[in-house]
Symmetry: C2
């Protein structure tokens, strides 16, 4: 587990949890996946698998979705390695995945190929370079559907052009607390960006938001990432200013210490409560109020999601058992961070 | 502070927090306090003061209520040393109080004299003996209003006869949790007893109930206390049985550990939350789940009530400041109990 990208925290890690880039690509002269039979999808997957076989930066493992347990599939979605839609219907689909989980390639999602890369902290350029390298590699072996005027052809017109969606996971509890977040969401929308909860349902679990570019047409990848980066850094600055106010508020600091106390003592913790408590824990870590590492929070917040726990520990584990194990693991890790073990 | 009776726990202390006896007495040929002027009340107080001056088991200090700060008066009510009604209008009233707070005598409450005694744990006989000793002492020096047929004459007919009310403070969280408590309250009512919240308002803060005798006429003090004791011990047995069920319930044990975690980490704790959390803390101590002494809970639950804190620490302390100090003191005491200091 320790080699996964999300066991780390990176640049601007106090506010920016991770950076993600996704490139949508399709093979020329082959209908979009929605028009393919299961067998034809299998052929597309095999084609890409072959093209990626000698890729080594990092090496990719081929996983046929139909071969995975239901929990493992949902776990991949919990870690944002696949989309929730991709998790729903498995037949014909496949995934290329690197050991460190920095690179995942959905095969036969909405498009034939969806290259996805992830980095801890504020590293959108790095994430883009990783996606671009794999894109170059595949481009040399496969014929991508590309139009000189439209750019990369994609099933949804919203992805036409670069086919790129870059996003940053941002922890914005202070801007949420001060009710500035909705006004800021409107502002960033005018700048061609979108700010929303990480699970595409509008809800921001644990005050974590996803900031992403919306435009893929008429703007280069570099310009889109530069725009995203500039806005993200401004948001981060505002968040930090709002945090200074929170830090003067003893009632809010009380919540941080209570969250730490609960996580250190509870015998059962649901994933919903964990997400909520982790928001306080992140702030407490940044403020230096409690002896916990951001890396621990980053890792546990992904590894202790429900399906991931079932896939990792016991496929038949029921909710109360899982909540008890989650509480135990959290307690153990917090004690380790506090240097008690 | 360490000499106060409530810094201890006593027999059956897992369920029975304390034992109390109150004797209502009036001076012959003097109207009840409600018919007296402030000056006349002062004269009654001085009479009793004189009679108690040489009492030494324990020695009693005379306090004129009008000389005390408002917070100190409410603090006395918080500790059940005076009645809430006695706290409301001070002029003319006075209190005799022992250093260890086992004996308090309200002067010119509903009756001229209300002798009150307290003991930690299940000691109703002991509490009665202490009240009886002072009663004997005063009886030798003062003429009590007594009628051969009616017994001691009191303002309220409900106290006629022995003028005695014996009560036990009982911690009954498991019977509360299992919803058996209201049925049991009906049952004890048929046995001439009353089970209710400790503050006479029906609410049971921190699952603490007061069980007391209702009959003072046609039953001797000894018989009344025997009846109270027998019922209390039965209630305690039922409570312990119900606790065994709770102890199997991981969701309930979770609450105990959370309460401990919160009390160990929060930066602000209101008295309401303290009362609620202390109920879990008591159980956790009895179950041996958490390293806390019942004596600590007994002491803090009285010493950290709002007016008591203001009277003890700072008369002008406001709620947020008090909540912060309460959290700090609790944390310090819990750490001491856990052997961390």
């Amino acid at each position: 587990m320790s080699g996964k990208w999300y066991t780390q925290s990176g640049a601007q890690g106090d506010v920016i949890i991770s950076s993600h880039v996704r490139l949508a690509r399709n093979l020329a002269r082959i209908p979009f996946p929605c028009r393919l039979t299961e067998q034809q999808m299998g052929e597309v997957c095999d084609l890409v698998r072959g093209a990626a076989a000698d890729y080594a930066r990092p090496k990719l493992t081929f996983l046929r979705m139909a071969d995975l347990t239901a929990n493992r599939v949902v776990s991949l979605a919990e870690k944002h390695l696949i989309s929730p839609a991709f998790a729903e219907i498995a037949p014909g689909k496949a995934l290329l995945l690197s050991e460190d989980e920095t690179v995942s390639v959905m095969l036969c999602e909405d498009d034939h190929i969806r290259i996805q890369t992830a980095r801890a902290g504020f590293e959108p350029q790095e994430a883009y370079r990783a996606a671009d390298a794999l894109d170059d590699h595949l481009d040399k072996k496969l014929a991508f559907a590309f139009d000189d005027r439209l750019g990369y052809l994609t099933q949804h017109p919203t992805n036409l052009g670069t086919g790129m969606r870059a996003s940053l996971m941002m922890h914005l509890p202070a801007l949420t607390q001060s009710f500035e977040i909705s006004r800021l969401a409107s502002t960033v929308a005018k700048l061609g960006l979108k700010l929303r909860g990480p699970y595409d349902d509008g809800g921001a679990k644990g005050d974590i938001y996803r900031l992403s570019n919306q435009l893929t047409f008429g703007i280069s990848e570099a310009a889109a990432i530069e725009n995203l980066s500039a806005v993200a850094l401004q948001l981060a600055t505002r968040e930090r200013a709002a945090r200074e106010t929170l830090q003067q508020d003893i009632a809010f600091m009380d919540k941080i210490h209570r969250a730490y106390g609960i996580l250190n003592s509870a015998r059962m913790i649901t994933s919903e409560e964990m997400n909520e408590m982790f928001s306080y824990l992140r702030l407490g870590a940044v403020f230096g109020e409690i002896p916990v590492r951001l890396e621990t929070v980053n890792e546990l917040s992904l590894n202790l999601q429900p399906a991931t726990m079932k896939a990792d520990y016991n496929e038949n584990m029921r909710a109360p058992e899982r909540d008890a194990l989650r509480a135990e693991i959290i307690k153990e890790r917090l004690r380790a961070d506090a240097g008690e073990e």
